[in-house]
Symmetry: C2
Subunit: 479 residues, 2 copies
């Protein structure tokens, strides 16, 4: 059995058992592992480095728009969580409670935050006095807990990492502007950093966030045709500012309740990267988010000068790229190639004694597996161009697949047949009644993903009830 066969045999076939393939990749590419705490994962260095790259990229974009970071308490008194009716209904079933601390039973139970609208609400209420204090636009990078029954690494973990931005504004218009700005920023992060095309729109009443007036979403489509919600931004109007008493003296000297937003992205995005780009060989990371962009693999490493030249090449590249040399002596180059592919490293450089003699090396890109022999003297430029091209090509490949998996249905038989055959997005007209939305879900297990910004007029009739419909909704089975 060759190295490759030996290596790949432990990963489930991606087309036959995608869920198992996913779990295999998480574990074998060393992104995360299960921990002693049920339903929680340990994010390993390679997985966490992806998250750090997402954080750095996002945090910079947030700060450029005036957002400031804060850190508020993990534990929320139960009475605070209960102040907004819809919100508590949405989250209560998933909350974990601290009841004993410092050796004593607590008088009031403390929730571990499932999200922090309530904590931000209480503090904003304390701090806000005048219109001059507005907007307050704070964000925190933190852990949250939601006690899910069924969990999957990154996609649905009881504890996960995220950022949650919460802002308050003088006017409804300004709050809506912030909501939509974050929606745009999320689209940019997912498309430009993660190379995954997004579908933008707003959620239906049924699917929106607990307590929000409007929820905007960036939706993505995975390789298996299932949808994944990548980031949401919520406009609350005064739904929270009234129960939380977040008011200010306005420019006319009158008291007024502020207008609020919140928005978040999480370590789910790592799940999206895996499932949007991965293939039968393993993970496939877009260069911009890859912890290691280039891996140099010396061939015939025992021969004099080979490892030295590999390290020299690393030194040339390291200022501009995230680069490593695989100098392990206990495994073969073939094993290293497979390891590179499994871990999704965008570009590998192979160099042996003859290459060095000829002043050349071989570049092998992960996305297409194409090989290119290049002159060592042009290496920086070559690597830069290829990484750029990989980033673009991965986005295009993902876009093409998403388009292929986007279909139209004008009646329920068609809807059911198409989603059963091909999964993916189904575009269909909707009358606006929640009853129809519920029935569609019952019959097809598809949720409404969003009411997309880019509307099309497919017909005049609701795909479910046949009554008049003005709205196109995109549906899909979801993660």
């Amino acid at each position: 059995m060759s190295d490759k066969e030996n290596f790949v045999k432990d990963i489930a076939n991606i087309d036959e058992n995608f869920p198992q393939w996913y779990t295999d990749i998480v574990l074998k590419a060393e992104l995360a592992d299960y921990a002693d705490t049920k339903g929680c994962i340990a994010i390993k260095p390679y997985g966490y480095a992806i998250w750090e790259n997402i954080q750095n990229y996002a945090d910079k974009l947030f700060k450029e728009t005036g957002v400031k970071n804060v850190y508020f308490p993990l534990l929320i008194p139960e009475s605070l969580l209960q102040k907004e009716k819809d919100h508590v209904e949405g989250f209560a079933p998933e909350v974990a409670f601290v009841t004993v601390a410092g050796g004593e039973e607590l008088e009031e139970r403390l929730c571990i935050r499932p999200t922090s609208e309530t904590m931000f609400g209480a503090l904003y209420s304390k701090w806000l006095k005048s219109w001059r204090d507005l907007p307050m636009e704070y964000n925190q990078w933190c852990n949250v807990l939601r006690w899910e029954k069924e969990t999957r690494p990154f996609l649905r973990s009881r504890e996960f990492l995220w950022q949650e931005g919460h802002t308050i504004h003088e006017t409804a218009e300004e709050a809506m502007e912030r909501t939509l700005k974050m929606h745009e920023i999320y689209a940019k992060i997912v498309e430009e950093l993660l190379a995954i095309p997004v579908l933008k729109g707003r959620k239906t009443e049924k699917e929106k966030f607990a307590g929000a007036v409007e929820t905007f979403t960036v939706e993505t489509l995975m390789r298996d045709g299932r949808a994944l919600q990548a980031g949401t931004s919520h406009y609350f109007g005064q739904n929270f500012t009234k129960p939380f008493n977040i008011k200010f003296q306005n420019r006319d000297g009158k008291e007024e309740y502020a207008y609020q937003t919140s928005w978040g992205i999480s370590t789910r995005l790592i799940g999206a990267i895996i499932m949007a780009h991965g293939d039968e060989r393993g993970l496939k990371l877009p260069p911009k988010v890859a912890p290691i962009q280039v891996k140099i693999i010396p061939i015939a490493m025992h021969k004099e000068g080979v490892l030295e030249e590999a390290n020299k090449l690393k030194d040339i590249l390291k200022d501009k790229f995230r680069v490593e040399v695989d100098d392990r002596s206990q495994v073969t180059p073939g094993f290293k190639f497979n390891d590179c592919e499994l871990k999704g490293i965008p570009l590998r450089i192979e160099m042996g004694p003859r290459d060095i003699e000829n002043g050349k090396c071989i570049l092998v890109r992960r996305d297409t597996l194409e090989k290119k022999e290049v002159e060592l003297k042009n290496i920086e430029k070559e690597v830069e161009e290829i990484l750029d091209d990989i980033q673009k090509s991965m986005f295009e490949a993902c876009k093409k697949r998403t388009e292929e998996k986007t279909q139209i249905a004008t009646n329920m038989d068609e809807f059911e047949e198409k989603i059963n055959k091909n999964q993916g997005y189904i575009k269909a007209m909707w009358c606006g009644k929640e009853e129809c939305e519920n029935k569609i879900k019952e019959r097809t297990n598809a949720h409404s993903r969003c009411i997309p910004y880019e509307q099309e007029h497919l017909s005049d009739k609701c795909v479910y009830c046949g009554e008049h419909a003005d709205t196109m909704v995109i549906w899909g089975r979801q993660y």
Copy 2:
């Protein structure tokens, strides 16, 4: 009443009531506020930006030495916490427990991590196979909870932010080397970034970390003469690797337990900055850690061109420095000067119509309040030099005070008199018996800070019992 009086009157007198001054600064400089969760604080943008600067500086140093970041679960099953006897004894009284989650009583209680030796232990045990896997050197930036009875913002909060590094090694020597390397890195962070001189040494048996073989500490002295432990690194030997079964096949093919370390710094450091540098006017931030290094205050802002020139100056400085213009129209320049001082901004630039006409501006440094008129055309160079000088001067001033507050005692009357009069560090010889250490604490309320690296031979006799003593210990009352 002038602006200044009006502004400063709400801060307690630093020499008369230092604890109240501290709390006033935390609240009024807007570093943090109390939250609805008892014993926890909300870190506000200005406080959090200080923490981000500490994180960025430290994280880079850690990574340069090969440390990798991870994220492991917040919740630790109670049985896991109990695996190492000394450790559980040390932490059990302070733990918060989750007992109810997802609407159900849990079968086993889950601890909110007070520190993660146990979680890292369980995972390292799972991952470690061969000497080739070593060292594993992982760190996480996270929140931890310790249910303290008495709390103070940043210094002793039930929840706090920190980094905890945990490493395992092939040999005792390598583990000790890592422990000492982190000790050096912590000294560098505190001295070079925070401009606070440190005392380096190891803890006595009594004061070391629960479960450690050795604890190394960097100790700092606050303005009031009380000591604050700024960062600790622990060498565990095999104390945890044995109960946690963290073993590997060594180079001889035999099974062996690994050698372990852990090390941490926390948001306590923000407390140290406040108390080491602050004065009667407020906070005083070292330039390297200050969120805003330069504040430009336009004088006669209503006059044409003034605000424009201030913004132009900002644009010139913003690539090299963290700079803002205070363009508030509802407060006077005098108010802004005081605000700058309260918030500890290292340098303020005043510029009015006449300055602009003359191509000049006034630089006022926070540490000495010295003013300097400079030519606008030299502004970058001037600002850079002054900020450098402020960073150095603040360190020197702090060092001088620490030296003045470091005294020698050769008997207990002297010890007691000196610490009562002047607080500070007391150098004294110690026989090595824990009984003497306990008695000293009972009589003076001073803890042993550390056995410093730089030993002096003050006498042959233990300051308490008079028996033979080889070891000099530094003592102090602590935060």
